[in-house]
Each structure stands twice: as structure tokens, then as C-alpha cells.
């Protein structure tokens, strides 16, 4: 199979083309060009599927690898070599990721054509959606941090535009600004990390970074008193934290639901937030080398747990989903931290599928009922059967019920965390990581089923707030307020994306196994395909990596290099777990998480269906209040950091200005000046005026008589003089 520009570029370019056409001609196209955007993503999907299918069905290989570069610009002058390469880097992980991003994005686009129908922002929405997707695809394809950063920022801009698309609403505007500003904090660090790497290595290509790690170039380098590897790894991870909404930079994500629901689905599932996880995974060797994995794990665990607790008290259906996204992202980051590379990536994929589905389902509900507060919903099972089915499947998946995808991936992360926290001989304080992880798992099951039960089960409360009697049987509902709920029909654009995504919540897609060389033998084998395909980069392979030029047509390159034992070289120690202990940790983890998940579900059942346990909100008002305030992060940022901090500083400065500077310095200067001016007056009158000014005037007049001839104001006269001077200069050269 050949990979040329033509077979890779369309993945990224076709949505860009759709973006350009929609941006300039969108208004003139039928349906404002939404079909074009959808079609373009479908083309991306086809090309991504080709790459995916090529390595799975074609010539299955664990070291599938394409790396093609071209020189973007090359200012190669005598001393300074400033050369920037761009290129694509496709390995197994990229192929899976491309398929996921383009597939999920395609379904979201398809759903959006239904959701945004007759919306006033229909056209603009479909301008940014393909750009967003293309930026993510470009980010995934990038082979270096530099182009990754470009796409990173394009995504930041797109999320800003999508969140604030209803810019007539103040809240939406604020939310978009918040998202933009908060992620910028992380981006500054990311840029710092990239620049540091650039200055140090002269390249930010993944391959070069891996090679530098393998060659031990980082050893002994320090910056600001800490090791260089730690510094760059930390900077890059802080960038990832901003994008992946990790504690404490998470505040933007819950507000991001201000945008249209499919946009949120795209932000929460396929793009944007996964970018942070993606860069953490790509830079995993650097993180390990910099020894910050414990930090990553703790941040992830705190995010996972904190967000899960907040989600238990939210009433807005989208807010619950937003916090659940935060929580799941925490899991992924935690997975990266505890060395569960492959499971973290798997969770990224599984989460993308079920979270997209959940958001689309929420969109379906909101669009059908025009209500997103859960206390005002309920009993929708009968009206929205397909949505219910899809959402139930996803809830089962996210809650970690066996046989669903969430179980497979989350359980593996939890197992690794358990090993990491208790058995690997790490700092005993890190036991907090698995504890928080398991607690979050239970909470996840609880709040997700709380959401399901409140939305789909029990009585229909949609008409309560309008004072129209009780429940769905009320025949007058449609007369006054037009909130009549129609029975859902199987609509290609509304339900089919949900159902397709729901299919992928099943676990066996992801833990399917294979033997030998083909995907065809999925069942009845020893190793799961995901485990085989995705593995942390072996940096030694990249030491003498030869690049391919982009323009050349080459057959697929496979790097058949022996996997060197790299653990004890040059300070880079990858995860080297004790297999036996790891296995037992996984067993314990699986059993515990099943138990915890069912406990959560059961608790939700008791509270919201059976009613036998009263919701604990009234019992613990203090905790509830804290949770409803989302731990007060927004207030903290605004009140403490901005109002108290910045304004206090300003007030202090104002006092210094008025009290000290104005009073003593300015007034004192005035006094001194008064004394000075009297003496100066005398000096001025006698010396300056009489001698200086008048004398100069006389002198100038004398010169003027001569110079007036030259300064005629005639341009041609000046030109004559210029030429004469030039001629006299040439004469003096005397060659």
C-alpha cells in the first residue's frame, strides 16, 4: 500500500476546504452548507478508515509506522540554521485516533444537521465545526510539537467560537471568554516547554525528542535549578492540563456547555479535551524521564474524584455530563500517570464514543423537550425510546458495568493505579491515587444513574412548571406553551448517530483479541488487540530514524528494529512492573470496581426510583452547598485572585500614589522649583536673552546670507548639488 500526500492530506484538508467554502459562501449554499461540512468529514473518515483498515486487515504489525516530512521553511544562511520541518507521523495509535476522531465527528455533524435546523446560528455553526475537526485531525497527524501547537491554538479559537456562538446571550459570551482565558494559561506553559525543547534540541519533532531521550542528551541538564527534562515535561503537562481541563484549570469545561449541544459533544468527546491527553501520551517518555508521573497521577485522581462529587448534585443534564467528562479525563490523566499508557489511550477512545453519544442524547432530549433541568424532566422513556436506549447503553458503559467498554478501559486504569499506589513500593502517600480513583468510580455509577432515573423514569414533570396539571396525560399541554412532546421516530439524523455510537459502547470491540497476523481472528486468542497495538514509544527505535520526504512515493515503511532493553539506560526508565503483582492488582481492581459500580447504581436506584432512601442533599447541607458551588473555584478565581488580589494591589498602589508620591515628591518639587525659578529668571533675562538669543540671531542672519543661495527650495537645484557631490567623490576615489 502506498502512502503519498494524496492519501494522507485529504484527512486534514477536506474539512478545511469545507470550512473555507462555508465561511465565504455558506450563506448562498442550500441549507447553509451543512451537508458540505458533513460530507467533508465523511471523506476524512474514509481516508482514516483506509489507514486503519490497512494496518488491521492488511498487514497487521505492531510497529506500523509512517513518518513523512517536508521542509516548511528553511532560512539556511551562513551561520544560523533555522529550518522548520512539518510532517505526518502515523503509528497504530494515530490510526486508531484518526478513525475515532473522524468517525465521531462525522456522527456529530450528522446529528447537528438535525439539531441546528432552523437555528439562527446554523450557518456559523457549520463554519466552525469542520475547522474544529480538521484542527484535531491535524493535531493527531502532526509529527512535531510546533505544528501541534498551531492546531492546538486553532482548536482553542474554535472552541471559543462554538461556546460563544449565541453571542447575544451574556452568559455564553462569558463562558467562551472563560474557556479561552483558562486554556491560555496552560498554553503559555506549553509554548514555554516547546520553546525550551527547541532551544535545547533544535527540533521539536517527536522522533528527535525520542532520540534525544534515548541518547541521554537530557542527562545532567538543568534549568532554574531543576532538571531540564522535568522542566519541559512539567511545562508540556501544564499545557495539557489546561486543554484537558485538569484541576485546577478545569473551570472552563463545565461552562463550555453554553454552546449548542453537538458542539459540546465535539469538545467533550472527540476533540479539544482529548488533545491534552494526546500530548501527554505522545510526550510520555519525556514525562517519565522528567519524573513527574506522580504529579500527573495525583492531578488526575483529584480531578476524577472532585468532578465526580460535584456531578452528584448538579441538576442540569448537561452539567452532569460536563462534570462526568472532567472526571473521566481525570481517569485518563491518572492512567498516564500510573504508567497505564495503553489503558489511558483506550479510555480516551471508549470515552469518546460513549460521551459523544451521551451528549448527543442530551441534545436529543433538550431539542425534543426544550428543557434541560432534570427536576423538570422525568418519564421520557416512553417518548424517546431510541434516545433512552442509546443513553442507557452509554450510562452502563461509563458506570463501569461489565461487558461494556467503560468497564474494560477504566478497570484497567484502576488496576494499574492499585498496583501503583499499594504494591509498587512508591511513596505511601500515593495510595491516595487508587483510593480517589475507586471512590470516583462509585460516584460515577451513582450520578450517571441518578441522571438516567431522573430523566427517563418516574413521572413526567415537564408540564409542572407551567401549571398545567400533572404528567404527560394532560391533554392541554400543547395548547398553551407548545411544549408538547412528540413521540420519537427513527430519524436518520437524530437517532441513527446515537444508535451507532451506542453499539460501540460494547466492550468486546475494544478487548477483542487476536492471534497471528489478522484481525479476522478476533475471538479465542490470548492478547487483546488494543494491548498489542498501543504501547509506549520505545525511544531506542528512533535513534537512527531516517525521514522520508513528503513528496516521494514510498511503500509503507516498517521499522523492524529489535526492541532494545532500554530500562536501565540514560536515566529513562519506562514502567517495569512486577508482572505477578500487576496481575493480582488487576484481579482485585476488577472485582472491586464491579462491586463499587453496582453499589453506586443500587444507591441511585434506591434514592430515585424506589425512594426508600432520601437523597442525602438535605442531610448534609454544608457538603451539598460546597458541591453546588463547585468547590468555589469560580468564586476563588474571581473574588480572591481578581477582585481581592488585583484590586487590592491597585488600591495599595493608589494609596502610595496619593499619600507619598503626590504629597511629598510632587509638592516638594513644586517648592524647590519656586525657589529655582526666581534665580533662573535673572539668569534668563541677562545671560540667555541678551547674549544667547540676540547674539545667535545676528550670527544666523550672517550665515543666512550665504546659505539662502543654496537652500532655494527648488528640488532640481538640490539634485544638481547631489550630483556634484557624487562627482567629486568619484573623482577622489582616484582609481
Amino acid at each position: 500500500m502506498e502512502y503519498t500526500v494524496g492519501s494522507i492530506a485529504p484527512i486534514f484538508l477536506s474539512p478545511v476546504i469545507a470550512f473555507v467554502i462555508n465561511a465565504f459562501l455558506g450563506r448562498k449554499l442550500p441549507r447553509q452548507g451543512d451537508w458540505l461540512a458533513t460530507l467533508s468529514i465523511f471523506i476524512s473518515f474514509i481516508y482514516s478508515a483506509r489507514i486503519f483498515g490497512d494496518f488491521v486487515f492488511g498487514n497487521f504489525a505492531t510497529d506500523f509506522f509512517i513518518h513523512k516530512t517536508f521542509t516548511w521553511f528553511d532560512l539556511n544562511h551562513a551561520a544560523t540554521i533555522f529550518k522548520v520541518d512539518m510532517g505526518v507521523y502515523i503509528d497504530n495509535m494515530t490510526a486508531i485516533m484518526l478513525l475515532m476522531v473522524s468517525g465521531v465527528a462525522f456522527l456529530i455533524h450528522l446529528f447537528s444537521t438535525w439539531y441546528m435546523d432552523h437555528d439562527e446560528k446554523h450557518g456559523r455553526f457549520f463554519v466552525f465545526l469542520p475547522l474544529f475537526t480538521s484542527a484535531m485531525l491535524g493535531l493527531v497527524l502532526s509529527d512535531n510539537l510546533f505544528s501541534l501547537f498551531i492546531f492546538w491554538e486553532i482548536m482553542g479559537f474554535c472552541s471559543y467560537s462554538l461556546i460563544g456562538i449565541y453571542n447575544q446571550k451574556e452568559k455564553a459570551g462569558d463562558a467562551s471568554l472563560k474557556a479561552f482565558m483558562t486554556t491560555r494559561v496552560g498554553d503559555v506553559f506549553l509554548l514555554l516547554g516547546i520553546v525550551a525543547l527547541w532551544m535545547f534540541l533544535g527540533s521539536v519533532n517527536y522522533v528527535d525528542i525520542y532520540a534525544a531521550i534515548a541518547e541521554g542528551k537530557f542527562a545532567g541538564q538543568t534549568v532554574l535549578g531543576i532538571s531540564f527534562a522535568t522542566f519541559t515535561a512539567l511545562c508540556i503537562f501544564l499545557g495539557a492540563m489546561g486543554k484537558s481541563a485538569q484541576f485546577p484549570l478545569h473551570v472552563w469545561l463545565p461552562d463550555a456547555m453554553m454552546g449548542p449541544t453537538p458542539g459540546s459533544a465535539l469538545i467533550h468527546a472527540a476533540t479539544m479535551v482529548t488533545a491534552g491527553v494526546w500530548v501527554s501520551l505522545r510526550m510520555y517518555p519525556l514525562m517519565v524521564l522528567g519524573d513527574i508521573t506522580w504529579f500527573i497521577a495525583v492531578v488526575g485522581a483529584i480531578t476524577a474524584f472532585g468532578a465526580a462529587t460535584v456531578a452528584t448534585v448538579q441538576t442540569d443534564i448537561k452539567a452532569v455530563l460536563a462534570y462526568s467528562t472532567l472526571s473521566q479525563l481525570g481517569y485518563m490523566i491518572m492512567g498516564v500517570g500510573v504508567g497505564s499508557y495503553n489503558a489511558a489511550f483506550m479510555h480516551l477512545i471508549t470515552h469518546a464514543c460513549f460521551k459523544a453519544c451521551l451528549f448527543l442524547s442530551a441534545g436529543s432530549i433538550i431539542h425534543s423537550v426544550h428543557e434541560q433541568e432534570m427536576p423538570k424532566l422525568g418519564g421520557l422513556r416512553k417518548y424517546l425510546p431510541y434516545t433512552h436506549f442509546a443513553m442507557m447503553a452509554c450510562t452502563l458503559a461509563i458506570a463501569g458495568i461489565p461487558f461494556f467498554s467503560g468497564f474494560v478501559s477504566k478497570d484497567r486504569i484502576l488496576g494499574d493505579a492499585l498496583y501503583y499506589g499499594f504494591m509498587s513500593g512508591q511513596n505511601p502517600l500515593l495510595a491516595i491515587v487508587p483510593i480517589l480513583g475507586f471512590a470516583a468510580a462509585g460516584l460515577t455509577a451513582f450520578y450517571m444513574f441518578r441522571m438516567m432515573f431522573l430523566t427517563f423514569y418516574g413521572e413526567n414533570r415537564t408540564h409542572d412548571n407551567h401549571g398545567h396539571g400533572h404528567g404527560h396525560k394532560d391533554a392541554h399541554g400543547h395548547e398553551a406553551h407548545g411544549h408538547e412532546i412528540h413521540h420519537e421516530h427513527l430519524d436518520v439524523r437524530q437517532n441513527v448517530p446515537l444508535l451507532i455510537l451506542a453499539v460501540f459502547t460494547l466492550g468486546f470491540w475494544f478487548c477483542g483479541t487476536l492471534t497471528g497476523q489478522s484481525f479476522g481472528k478476533v475471538f479465542g486468542a490470548k492478547t487483546e488487540w488494543f494491548k498489542v497495538l498501543v504501547e509506549a514509544p520505545v525511544v531506542e527505535k528512533f535513534v537512527d530514524h531516517k525521514r522520508e520526504d513528503f513528496s516521494r512515493v514510498d511503500t509503507r515503511e516498517k521499522t523492524h528494529l529489535e526492541h532494545a532493553h532500554y530500562h536501565h539506560q540514560t536515566g529513562y526508565a519506562g514502567p517495569n512492573p512486577d508482572e505477578h503483582k500487576l496481575h493480582s492488582a488487576h484481579t482485585i481492581g476488577a472485582i472491586a470496581s464491579i462491586f463499587i459500580a453496582f453499589a453506586g447504581v443500587f444507591l441511585a436506584f434506591l434514592m430515585y426510583i424506589k425512594g426508600s432512601v432520601k437523597p442525602w442533599a438535605s442531610k448534609f447541607p454544608g457538603i451539598t452547598k460546597t458541591l453546588e458551588n463547585k468547590y468555589g473555584f469560580d468564586e476563588f478565581y474571581i473574588d480572591i485572585l481578581i477582585k481581592k488580589g488585583l484590586l487590592g494591589l491597585n488600591r495599595g498602589l493608589a494609596w502610595i500614589d496619593m499619600g507619598i508620591y503626590d504629597r511629598y515628591v510632587v509638592d516638594g518639587m513644586a517648592f524647590v522649583n519656586r525657589v529655582l525659578y526666581k534665580s533662573a529668571k535673572w539668569f534668563d533675562n541677562v545671560v540667555v536673552d541678551a547674549i544667547g538669543v540676540d547674539g545667535t540671531g545676528v550670527a544666523v542672519n550672517l550665515f543666512n546670507l550665504v546659505l539662502r543661495i543654496v537652500q532655494s527650495g527648488k528640488i532640481q537645484f538640490y539634485f544638481i548639488m547631489l550630483i556634484m557631490v557624487l562627482a567629486s567623490y568619484v573623482w577622489t576615489l582616484n582609481i
Binding site: 527650495g713 527648488k714 528640488i715 532640481q716 539634485f719 544638481i720
Partner: protein
């Protein structure tokens, strides 16, 4: 016959004629014509050196840039001339005295 010196002399003659045009004419457009001649003389020198002295084509590039600059200069200069004519109703160079006093 055809040597570096002959090209240099042709270019020198052009240059001198350009100078004389610039000095002797009073019409602004005519002065611009003189500037064109001067620029072309310079460009011709570059190409001549490129053929007879150096081994690369940098001289060609330079004369290309000179042509570009001459075009830009002509466009802006003539725009100024037209604007000047709209204000003063003449293009006599000596009427451009507004900045003198």
C-alpha cells in the same frame, strides 16, 4: 566590441541623460521619465556585471527588483502628480512650494 566597458558606457550615457532630463525639464512627469532612465542605467549595469564578472545570476535578480521598484515608484509618483494637478491645476515643479515657508 561587446565588452563590459561598452555596456558600462551605454549605461553611463543613459544615466547622464537621465540626470540632465531631471535637471533641465520643468514638468514633473518629465522628471519621472529621467528617474526611469537612471534606474534603467543601474539595472543594465547589474546585468552586465552578472555576465562579465560574476558566475551567478544575482545581478539579474537585482535588476528584476529594480524593475519592480521602478514600477512601484512610477505608480505612486504619477498618483502624486495627478493629485498635485487636482490641487494646483499645473504640474510645474516650481509650484510645489507649499512646504517652503
Amino acid at each position: 566590441m561587446m565588452s563590459l566597458a561598452s555596456y558600462l558606457i551605454i549605461s553611463l550615457i543613459l544615466f547622464v541623460v537621465g540626470i540632465v532630463v531631471m535637471i533641465a525639464r520643468k514638468n514633473i512627469v518629465a522628471i519621472l521619465l529621467g528617474i526611469e532612465l537612471i534606474l534603467n542605467a543601474a539595472a543594465l549595469n547589474f546585468v552586465a556585471y552578472s555576465r562579465y564578472v560574476t558566475n551567478n545570476l544575482d545581478g539579474h535578480i537585482f535588476s528584476l527588483f529594480i524593475i519592480v521598484i521602478a514600477a512601484a515608484e512610477a505608480a505612486v509618483g504619477l498618483a502624486i502628480v495627478i493629485r498635485f494637478f487636482q490641487i494646483k491645476e499645473t504640474i510645474h515643479i516650481d509650484e510645489a512650494t507649499q512646504l517652503r515657508n
